[in-house]
Every structure is written in structure tokens, then in C-alpha cells.
């Protein structure tokens, strides 16, 4: 009969989040750095390939959120073709993108927020995890799972049961929605809607208990960036690019996303493979900005769907300072989940969604194409150049984790300065640093190839560059 399995058979190739703390001679912190030490080189792999292959090539950057890369890549290819995607094709892509956001946010909320919120921040880590949550709050756990399943199921209905669906193609989508699948999507909506509303119902009152944490989580002010509709509302698939001040008011007039290069520079540091995008007008590193669900909700006018708008209004009761607290990422994700379900329902309820004209065909008409969309974690930019025959000569990707790179490093530095005095690494710092990084929910497998959980290795380095202390956590 059974014996206890002691090995961990789930082998994943992992990467450490490596952090260096640079010390001054007087024992104060100079700077802390998050190193992304793996290099994937996807941009190089694409060179010489026909641009038509890009969406499926790019989808392979990540097994967790291939859909986001599919969308941004296909949009960049649309720009190369210089075609207007048939309306139904665009709406089908929009459904898939929203489904991706719903499932990703649900997992993130379920994992990161729910245990802290329901079991208390003071509970010991051993009892403050998913398993404990599952026993004490089974309904909350079921709702989290149901929401994730909802998004995943729609992605499978549209793109097939593959890890990397190839359904989104340059010019549109490869197959229209069948009536059968439309009905199946519609049938799953009430359950998902109930689940997210139940979650919001316990989540909001629980916030009162976390006044203090919300204060501690309060972050430094930065600019915000993301897509908005032409009228300034929530948008994930298309629209215009907004740069907003910390309080959410536009910093300048919204621009076409294709013009991002005029406003974003990319700095390179020799200690990490992940570049540092910054807002050009403010220079480097002052042009720090953030992307993601919180940035989106803090800078849009409305969501554009009734239930989500009501929630947004409630959220906006918070002061501007409170809204800057990263703690509210959780709330932002829930509102976006609600929005996603409402929007999907709206789109699939329109009979035109079954239209079979879902793809435009053309030869490449431009030598450069830019595709921008909102991934769950923030703005995703794909930028390609092709030769006269349609072969990729150059490509550049800016991913959400990249946009947040400056902010993540600043947050870590802030935490290190707060907790460190003298040449020692105190225990709470590790937790705090992890919390800072987690807030951004960085998908390291996207920026690099680190899989799985987040083991941290932290080094303390003196002014001469010598390692004086090293701690790690698996």
C-alpha cells in the first residue's frame, strides 16, 4: 500500500528572483536591485521568419498567458497588413482577451489576496495559505476556482484545447463562433457573475480590518499608463494610450498606441536582462510609471458596464492617497473580473457575433507594425519591422513586468532602507520584499524563463562590491 511520497515529482525549471542590496560604508542602504538573470532572446528567434508566423511564435513566450501575446502580436501584424479587422473578428478577439484577464485575475486574487484577507495578515504563514482557506472558507475558494474555470473554458471554446491556441491570426481570427459555443458561453455567465458578486460582497467589508496594512502598502506616487477608449473609459483590446498623473488625471492628451516610442524610452542596466522603460519627458529614472489593473482603474473615467461602474464608484470613495496603495490591486482585479464577465455577456448576446466574416486578407502594406493591448498585468507592446518580402528584420517587445521594472526596484529599495540598519538582513525584510514584488504579480516566465514559484536569493554588497551577507529562501 501507499507510502508517503517524499520527492517532489513536479519538477519545474526555476529561476531565482535575485536581489542585491548595495550598502554605504556607514551601514545604510544605497540601493536595492531586482535582477532578472535569465535571457530568452525571443526577439532574435523571430529574425528572418515570415511575419505571419509571429502570433503563434509569440504565444510560446508563455504557457500561462499565451492569449495576451497572441492578441498583441496579431495586432502588430494587422498593422503590417494595414487592414481593418472585420468587426466580428475584432469582437471575438476581445472576448478571448477578456476571458484571459478574468482567469488570470481570479487565480491571482484567489492566491494572493484571499488568504491574507480572510485568514488575517497576522496568521502564521503556515496557516495563512490556500489550503487553510479552503477548509475555513470553502465557498470563497469554490468561487475563485469557478471564475478561473469560466475564463479558461471560453478560451478553449474559441481556440481549442491547446496550450497555445493559434486561433487569433493576422487580419482577424481563423474561425467564427458557432451558435453552439455561443450558447455554451452564455450558459456559464450567470454562475460566474454570482461568484464574482459573492466575492466582492465579502471582500469590501473586510477591507476595514486592513487600514494599517493599506497604509504600510502605500506606495510612492508614479505616473500611470494604459489603454483607454476614445472617451477615456476602461479598455483592454484597442483604443488610445493614456499617461496619467498619480491621481489619475491625464498627464497629456491620449495618443495613438502606435506612437508609444515617442513617449517611452528603454534604459538598459548591465546587471539585469530586463530593460527599464521610462516616460521620456521625465527622463531616466525619474520617468517611472506603472501599469496593470490598479493603474487602469485609477486613470479611466468609467468601466462602461453597469455593475462594474457601480463598483468603480464605490472604489472611488477612497481618497487619492488611499487609491495609490498597492493593496488595492486586489480590489481592482475583482472589478475588472466583473467588468470582463459583463462585457463578454454583452458581446456574445449580439446576434452579429455569429457572423462568419471574421478575417481580412491582404499582403503586407507597411514595413513596420505595432500592436498594443492590455494583458492582465498591464500594457503589452509588440513592435515588428519586416523587409519587402514580409520577413521579420527586427522586433521588440515591452511586457507589463518591464513597464513596472523601475517601480519594482524602487519599492524594494524603499523596503530595504526601512528595514535595514547595519550589515545584516533582518527576517521581515524578505517577507516585505516578496510582498513588494508580488504586488506587481510579475510573470517572470514572460520576461525570462523562470517557472514556478518565487524563490528569493538576497545578497548584501558593501561599497567595494564585496558580498557581506547572503540569504536565500527556496
Amino acid at each position: 500500500m501507499s507510502k508517503t511520497v517524499t520527492i517532489d515529482p513536479v519538477t519545474r525549471i526555476e529561476g531565482h528572483a535575485k536581489i542585491t542590496i548595495m550598502m554605504n560604508d556607514d551601514g545604510t542602504v544605497d540601493e536595492a536591485r531586482l535582477h532578472i538573470t535569465q535571457f530568452r532572446g525571443f526577439e532574435r528567434i523571430c529574425e528572418g521568419r515570415p511575419f505571419y508566423e509571429m502570433p503563434s511564435l509569440m504565444a510560446r513566450i508563455c504557457g500561462i498567458c499565451p492569449v495576451s501575446h497572441l492578441v498583441a502580436s496579431a495586432k502588430a501584424c494587422d498593422a503590417l497588413l494595414a487592414v481593418a479587422v472585420p468587426e466580428t473578428g475584432a469582437r471575438l478577439r476581445r472576448i478571448m482577451n477578456l476571458a484571459q484577464i478574468v482567469q488570470s485575475h481570479s487565480l491571482s486574487f484567489f492566491h494572493l489576496s484571499a488568504p491574507d484577507l480572510l485568514l488575517g495578515m497576522d496568521a502564521s504563514p503556515a496557516s495563512r495559505n490556500i489550503m487553510a482557506l479552503v477548509s475555513s472558507h470553502p465557498q470563497a475558494a469554490k468561487d475563485g476556482i469557478a471564475l478561473r474555470r469560466f475564463g479558461q473554458h471560453i478560451i478553449e471554446l474559441l481556440g481549442g484545447k491547446r496550450i497555445h491556441p493559434a486561433w487569433i491570426v493576422p487580419g482577424g481570427v481563423s474561425a467564427p463562433l458557432t451558435q453552439e459555443h455561443r450558447d455554451e458561453i452564455l450558459a456559464t455567465i450567470p454562475e460566474a457573475m454570482e461568484a464574482v458578486q459573492r466575492t466582492l460582497a465579502w471582500f469590501k467589508p473586510s477591507l476595514k480590518k486592513f487600514r494599517e496594512e493599506i497604509g504600510v502598502f502605500a506606495n510612492f506616487p508614479t505616473l500611470l499608463m494604459g489603454l483607454v477608449t476614445p472617451s477615456g473609459d476602461l479598455e483592454h483590446y484597442d483604443g488610445r494610450l493614456r499617461f496619467a498623473k498619480p491621481d489619475g488625471t491625464p498627464r497629456m492628451e491620449d495618443v495613438a498606441p502606435e506612437r508609444f516610442n515617442e513617449f517611452i524610452g528603454e534604459a538598459v542596466e548591465d546587471w539585469t536582462y530586463l530593460k527599464f522603460p521610462y516616460f521620456l519627458q521625465d527622463g531616466y529614472p525619474d520617468g517611472i510609471y506603472r501599469v496593470g489593473p490598479l493603474a487602469r482603474l485609477n486613470m479611466v473615467g468609467r468601466c462602461g458596464t453597469p455593475l462594474a461602474d457601480a463598483e468603480l464608484e464605490e472604489y472611488r470613495q477612497l481618497s487619492v492617497e488611499e487609491r495609490m496603495s498597492s493593496f488595492h490591486y486586489h480590489w481592482a482585479r475583482l472589478i475588472e473580473v466583473l467588468y470582463g464577465i459583463e462585457r463578454i455577456k454583452e458581446i456574445v448576446s449580439d446576434p452579429d457575433i455569429l457572423d462568419t466574416h471574421v478575417r481580412a486578407h491582404a499582403e503586407p502594406n507597411r514595413s513596420e507594425g505595432i500592436g498594443v493591448s492590455e494583458a492582465p498585468r498591464g500594457t503589452l507592446m509588440h513592435h515588428y519591422k519586416i523587409d519587402e518580402n514580409g520577413l521579420i528584420t527586427w522586433s521588440n517587445l515591452i511586457i507589463a513586468t518591464g513597464h513596472n521594472n523601475l517601480a519594482m526596484n524602487k519599492g524594494i529599495t524603499q523596503a530595504a532602507k526601512h528595514y535595514i540598519s547595519g550589515f545584516d538582513i533582518p527576517e521581515p525584510l524578505l517577507n516585505r520584499v516578496e510582498a513588494v514584488i508580488r504586488t506587481y504579480d510579475p510573470c517572470l516566465s514572460c520576461s525570462t524563463h523562470a517557472f514556478g514559484q518565487m524563490p528569493i536569493r538576497m545578497q548584501m554588497v558593501d561599497s567595494k562590491g564585496m558580498v557581506v551577507k547572503e540569504v536565500s529562501r527556496q
Binding site: 520527492i7 515529482p9 519538477t11 479552503v134 474555470r149
Partner: protein, 143 residues
């Protein structure tokens, strides 16, 4: 045969990490009635719903160990489920607690040899796959 769910976990772009999915694909071609298969990159919580609907669940995954391991596993409510990564035991615990389902559960840990960025199994991995196929066959035939 018992209603069986076979879950293969791993990345097809990392050589032997694809052993789990490879075993599932092999099994899927046999057209066994009562066998549902799933290939995933990582174990994610919604799998608990599928697990709860099965009488038996078998996880196939690559392992870093030399020996192949086929063993019964139990719900592990103490498993930490950090980030996006679940253990089979944690998923069983989810199925147990949330959906009151206790399917018979097995793990087939297939020894992988090389996990580089490459498609296709290594030589050692291929041999291990054959072994695993035999082990899976025995498991499925056991009832």
C-alpha cells in the same frame, strides 16, 4: 475501467519536461473508454473540478530523480500552494474539501535527463517514456 483522469504536466519546449504530456499523448491514441486526458503546463486549481468528477486520477510528470516512481498519493492539505504552482496532493485536497470527492490517486514520476530549451525528448527520456507507458498500462489494467 474506472472513470480515470490522466493529467500530464510539463512544457513541450523543455526536452524531458515534456515526459508527462508525452505519456498522455501516447495513452490518448489508444482510445480507451473511460479515460479522460489533460495536458497542462502547470497544475492549476480548476483541475480540482475535473478530479472531483473522476473515480481515479493519475498524474504524470517528469522528475529529476534517477528512478521511476509509481505510487499512490493522498490529499495533502498541508501542501503550500504558492503562486501558480500546485502539487498533486494540494489539488486532491481541493477536490476533497470543496467537492467532497476522494478519487483513487496515483503519481507516475518519470525520470528526465535533460531539460534544455529544445523540442523532443532526450535518449534517456525516451527510454523512460517506454517504461512509463508500461507502468501506466499496468495501472490501468489493475481493476
Amino acid at each position: 475501467m474506472k472513470r480515470t483522469l490522466l493529467v500530464g504536466c510539463g512544457s513541450p519546449l523543455r526536452e524531458d519536461d515534456a515526459l508527462g504530456p508525452a505519456l498522455v499523448e501516447l495513452a490518448a491514441t489508444k482510445g480507451l473508454s473511460g479515460l479522460t486526458t489533460k495536458v497542462v503546463h502547470q497544475l492549476t486549481p480548476e483541475l480540482a473540478i475535473d478530479i472531483a468528477a473522476s473515480e481515479r486520477v493519475i498524474f504524470a510528470d517528469a522528475s529529476m530523480h534517477r528512478e521511476m516512481l509509481v505510487d499512490r498519493i493522498k490529499p495533502d492539505a498541508g501542501a503550500s500552494a504558492e503562486s501558480h504552482l500546485y502539487t498533486p496532493g494540494a489539488l486532491l485536497a481541493l477536490a476533497d474539501t470543496l467537492y467532497n470527492a476522494q478519487p483513487e490517486a496515483w503519481i507516475i514520476a518519470i525520470p528526465g535527463h535533460s531539460f534544455e530549451l529544445r523540442q523532443g525528448l532526450s535518449v534517456v527520456g525516451t527510454c523512460a517514456l517506454q517504461q512509463a507507458a508500461v507502468a501506466l498500462g499496468n495501472l490501468l489494467a489493475a481493476d
